[in-house]
Symmetry: C2
Subunit: 217 residues, 2 copies
């Protein structure tokens, strides 16, 4: 069955790979699955046809036959659960890898997202300069804990997994702020993710799409 | 094998059921699984013994034999995947229920958490009064979309699932602000969750613990 995902018609990051479709592309590339990409404009994302697929009017979505999913975490877990390469076989190790996937999305990403919101939606507010250090310190608090746990290991729990795929994807969103590079082992961990052939294919494909759509690239 | 979870020694909400151990207790009650609760002080949560279980120094954790998990989403999914009552049998319906679990944690909870952070960590800042309406409107934006999708249905996708368990848990955190009650179908949905016998058992148990620990209750 054909897999179709959605992505921004014009990615707000101009093809830097930080939009959430990149995570799904990466998982599909790791699993070796072919897929199609349908691009959605900001206007179309809020219209009934797209809201029927994604009630929160975002990307990515995932369509496979009659199955429609949204939420990058759910899509990556769906792919990882059904194809080799993204989750260990051992049941306990599998549960731990899924824990890291949730940790990436629910513990590490929220302060990073808050930093994006402070920049994009509150950048022009009178409080922004005074508030920004607090927001950045909340990102640092999480990254310091993650750095301590990762230590000198290559990946978070044994072999590369969907948990690492999501954690690297989330950490990359903190790189433009300079905070990721304050934690050399996390910066190296993210670079190990980026060096994977499947990541490179996913990154290049979304970048080609962004350039074709006229994003700054 | 005995299941042991961790919870706050003194819950910051004084037993209102908003701490994340309540979600895990609820899932365990729905699945009919016996479990023990170990209470952890704020100081002990940041010490090496607890950090070995939870790298971000939070609750809940889940121990079952040699398996150690953290992240309420991962724990609820682990319980739901292995026991009847929290996920449908049909593979597609199961994937959709898991999508709602992720949506609760990664799309609906972040703005609600941001509102808590604005109150608790930035309540004394000079910008708080001017900024609060923006933060509340970000919660409303998500709740309006969720309200539109739920419509007149009892649960998000067919029968009650782990996705509803998590969405109700997340929505309850928006009730103290008054925002939940602005969406009558969501308030009724949350009340349906609270009316489940398994929720009541979970709520009462955490409340008893909070009162025993001397929280305001």
């Amino acid at each position: 069955m054909t897999i179709t995902i959605t992505a921004f018609e014009r990615s707000p990051d101009g093809g830097k790979g930080l939009a959430r479709d990149t995570r799904v592309r990466w998982a599909l590339e790791e699993a070796g699955l072919p897929f199609k990409v349908r691009h959605v404009s900001f206007r179309a994302m809020k219209e009934p046809a797209h809201l029927a697929l994604h009630p929160f009017g975002q990307i990515p979505t995932y369509e496979e036959g009659n199955l429609v999913l949204f939420e990058s975490g759910a899509i990556v877990l769906h792919i990882a659960s059904r194809h080799a390469g993204l989750l260990p076989d051992d049941a306990d190790a599998r549960a731990r890898a899924i824990t890291w996937l949730f940790a990436a999305l629910n513990t590490v990403e929220p302060p990073i997202l808050e930093l994006s919101i402070a920049k994009v939606l509150e950048g022009d507010k009178p409080w922004n300069e005074a508030r920004m250090p607090l927001v950045k310190d909340r990102v640092r608090a999480r990254l310091a804990q993650l750095s301590a746990r990762l230590g000198a290991a290559d990946w978070l729990d044994g072999a590369f997994s969907a948990g690492d795929l999501m954690m690297v994807s989330v950490l990359l969103r903190s790189r433009p702020s300079g905070i990721l590079d304050e934690y050399p082992n996390l910066a190296a961990y993210a670079a190990r993710g980026e060096a994977r052939p499947a990541y490179k294919r996913a990154y290049e494909a979304q970048r080609r799409d962004a350039i074709a759509a006229g994003s700054p690239g």
